[in-house]
C-alpha cells in the first residue's frame, strides 16, 4: 500500500514537472506569424545571442523567413536586333512554414545607381514553397534602350505564410532538346496523384548550366486540367534567343507542377 501511494505521488510529481516543461515552451502562432523577415536584412550582425537564438530554442515557433539570393539580369539581342533582358531572382524559404509567393516589381539599376527600368508583375514559380525550397522570380522582356553596363537587380519580394496547401503533381521523363527554329523544347509527363482535380496546373522547368547557374526557365499550363489519377504529356518551347540557352548547355533541370492557387489574406 505504501509503495502504491509512493508510485502515485511520483507520477503526480512527474505530471506537474511535465506541465512545467510545457509551460516553458514557446507558444505557437504568436508574434512571428505576422512578420515576414528577409533574413539577410534582419539578422543583426555581431549579436551572438540573437544569431544563436535563431537556430536554437526559440526556433520552435513557426517562422516565416526567406532569403533573397543574387538576382541576375542578362541582356541579349535577338536575331532581329531587339534588346531583351532575362531577369531571375531566387528566393529560398529559410523558415519553418510554407510560403505563398506572389508577383513583385523588380528594379533594374545601373552601376552608378541610376534606375534603368522598373519591371512590374514579375511572376514567381512555384507559388507555394516548402521550407528549404527555392522559388524563382523570372521574367524575359524587351528593353527600349540598351544599358551601357551591367544591371543590378533589386526585387521587392512578396512572400507571406501560406494558408493554402502546398500541392504538387508528379513530373517525369523530362527531356530538353533544341527547338527546330530557336530556343529549347521541353517534353515530359505530369500525373495527378492527389484525390482532387487539378485546375489549370502549371508545369515549370528550370534549367541550369555546368556551373549550376540558372540559364533559363519555361512553363506551360495544362488548360484542360488533370483529374485524380490522370497522367498527361506536356510540351513547351522557349523563344529565347539568349545564346547560352541551348540544350547542350543544360546540365541539370528542376521541375515543379502545381495548381493555380490564390491567397487573398
Amino acid at each position: 500500500m505504501k509503495t502504491f501511494v509512493k508510485v502515485i505521488c511520483v507520477v503526480l510529481v512527474l505530471v506537474i514537472f511535465a506541465a512545467m516543461a510545457i509551460g516553458s515552451g514557446s507558444k505557437k502562432g504568436t508574434e512571428n506569424d505576422t512578420a515576414v523577415n528577409n533574413t539577410k536584412d534582419t539578422i543583426p550582425s555581431g549579436n551572438k545571442t540573437d544569431t544563436k537564438e535563431d537556430t536554437k530554442k526559440e526556433t520552435q515557433q513557426p517562422k516565416e523567413e526567406y532569403e533573397v539570393g543574387n538576382g541576375r539580369a542578362v541582356i541579349y539581342t535577338s536575331s532581329i536586333g531587339t534588346t531583351w533582358v532575362q531577369v531571375s531572382i531566387p528566393v529560398k524559404n529559410t523558415g519553418s512554414v510554407d510560403l505563398y509567393m506572389s508577383s513583385c516589381s523588380v528594379d533594374l539599376v545601373e552601376d552608378d545607381g541610376h534606375l534603368f527600368e522598373s519591371l512590374s508583375l514579375v511572376s514567381v514559380y512555384p507559388q507555394v514553397i516548402k521550407p528549404g525550397e527555392t522559388a524563382w522570380y523570372y521574367e524575359e522582356t524587351t528593353l527600349d534602350n540598351v544599358p551601357s553596363g551591367n544591371l543590378k537587380v533589386q526585387p521587392h519580394v512578396n512572400a507571406k505564410k501560406a494558408t493554402v496547401d502546398c500541392v504538387r503533381y508528379e513530373v517525369s521523363e523530362v527531356e530538353v532538346t533544341n527547338d527546330k527554329y530557336s530556343g529549347i523544347k521541353i517534353t515530359g509527363w505530369v500525373e495527378n496523384a492527389t484525390s482532387e482535380e487539378a485546375s489549370l496546373p502549371y508545369v515549370v522547368v528550370f534549367m541550369y548550366d555546368a556551373n549550376d547557374e540558372l540559364i533559363g526557365q519555361a512553363f506551360t499550363i495544362i488548360s484542360d486540367g488533370l483529374k485524380p489519377g490522370d497522367k498527361k504529356g506536356f510540351s513547351m518551347s522557349t523563344f529565347s534567343s539568349y545564346d547560352q540557352f541551348i540544350a547542350e548547355n543544360v546540365k541539370r533541370v528542376e521541375y515543379y507542377s502545381y495548381p493555380t492557387q490564390y491567397q487573398f489574406n
Binding site: V13, L14, A21, I22, G23, S24, G25, K56, Q60
Partner: protein, 149 residues
C-alpha cells in the same frame, strides 16, 4: 527540530530552483507560455535583454537556454527523492526515473509532441543536475547521521 530542519531543506531545494527558473524565464525568455501568462496577468511590458559584450552574450545565452532546464531537473530530483526515500537503492531508483523522464521530455520535444527544441546538451546538463542533487542529498544525509562533521 531536526524534522523541521529536514522539511525546510527539502522544501527549499524543491521550490527555490523553480522560483529562480521562473524568474529567469520572465526576464530572459519573455516569449514562453508561462512568461506570456505572467506579463499578461501583471500587465507588464516585456524587456529586451541584449548583451553588449560577447562574454555577457554567452552568459545570457546560457541563462536563457540551459539554466532553467538544469534548475528544473534539480528540483525534480529532490521532489522524487522526497517521496521515494534516500537509501542507496531508493536514490538509484530516483536517478533512473529522473534520467528517463528528462530524456523522454527532450524526445517528445524532438518529435513535436511538446513545445520546445530538442537539444542533446539539455539532456547532459539535466543529468548533471540530477547527479548534483543526488550528491547533495547524500551529503545532507551523512551530515544528519553525523558521519560527516
Amino acid at each position: 527540530m531536526i524534522q523541521r530542519h529536514s522539511f525546510v531543506f527539502w522544501f527549499l531545494n524543491i521550490t527555490v530552483p523553480l522560483l529562480i527558473g521562473l524568474f529567469l524565464y520572465v526576464v530572459f525568455r519573455p516569449d514562453t507560455i508561462i512568461s506570456n501568462a505572467i506579463y499578461g496577468l501583471l500587465q507588464l511590458t516585456k524587456p529586451d535583454i541584449r548583451a553588449n559584450s560577447s562574454l555577457l552574450s554567452e552568459v545570457i545565452f546560457f541563462l536563457r537556454c540551459y539554466s532553467c532546464d538544469m534548475l528544473w531537473a534539480y528540483s525534480l530530483t529532490f521532489a522524487c527523492s522526497a517521496i521515494i526515500g534516500t537509501s542507496a537503492r531508493q536514490l538509484a531508483v530516483t536517478g533512473i526515473i529522473c534520467f528517463s523522464f528528462e530524456i523522454l521530455i527532450e524526445l517528445l520535444q524532438n518529435y513535436g509532441v511538446l513545445t520546445g527544441v530538442f537539444d542533446f546538451l539539455d539532456i547532459i546538463l539535466e543529468i548533471i543536475s540530477t547527479l548534483l542533487a543526488v550528491l547533495i542529498i547524500i551529503i545532507h544525509k551523512k551530515i544528519k547521521l553525523g558521519t560527516i562533521v
